[in-house]
């Protein structure tokens, strides 16, 4: 149980990261690769938040003065993840628009067939 408590978030986060990377490594379909990218980014975000977590902490919001005595979790990773999420969506949107244009030009999304730029 302590093992689960200590590592389950890390396992989840890096599980997502490696699944995302695996998709990007072995899949040929561009949309699939972008899905892999999105999973990878979710994993990274989860990992960052997990780093900042403090056992039995509360959210870093002073909604009223009563909670002050309690420990609060680290707000910095949350700020970082907010930024990272937005960066992620920016990259995904750009990637998908490129995919749409690529499909226009090539008629396929199979990356093995999109090899005009090489060597």
């Amino acid at each position: 149980m302590t093992f689960l408590h200590d590592y389950i978030y890390y396992i989840g986060a890096f599980g997502l990261i490696f699944i995302g990377l695996f998709i990007m490594l072995v899949k040929h379909n561009l949309i699939k690769v972008i899905i892999g990218l999105s999973i990878l980014e979710t994993g990274v975000n989860l990992f960052l938040i997990a780093v900042g977590y403090i056992s039995k902490g509360t959210a870093p919001i002073f909604s009223n003065s009563a909670v002050e005595s309690e420990r609060m979790v680290d707000p910095v990773p949350q700020a970082l993840v907010l930024t990272a999420i937005v960066i992620g969506v920016a990259v995904l949107a750009l990637a998908l628009s490129l995919a749409i244009r690529l499909y226009h030009h090539y008629g396929v999304l199979d990356l093995r067939k999109i090899k005009e730029q090489r060597w």
Binding site: I31, I85, V89, I100
Partner: protein, 79 residues
């Protein structure tokens, strides 16, 4: 509590793995949407409500919508 979380994480990983195998890209997108949703629940458990909101609205809703629009304009099935 920890068991619930473990179960959620397991579900999330299963959804992610499922995204590898779906030939129908819409299904894969829905799987990844599910990953995002569960992640946002986990964020909430990790005392990060701001991030949970952002992940839920961006990761689960907006990105999936963008994916679906993109799939509509390209091809639905992976060959």
């Amino acid at each position: 509590m920890i068991l619930v979380i473990s179960l959620l994480i397991l579900l999330m990983l299963v959804a992610a793995i499922a995204a590898i195998f779906f030939k129908d890209l819409i299904n894969a997108v829905i799987a990844s949407c599910m990953v995002s949703l569960i992640a946002s629940i986990l964020f909430y458990f990790l005392q990060a409500p701001d991030v949970a909101m952002a992940e839920a609205s961006i990761g689960a809703a907006l990105v999936s919508a963008v994916f679906i629009i993109a799939i509509r304009r390209t091809k639905r099935y992976e060959e």
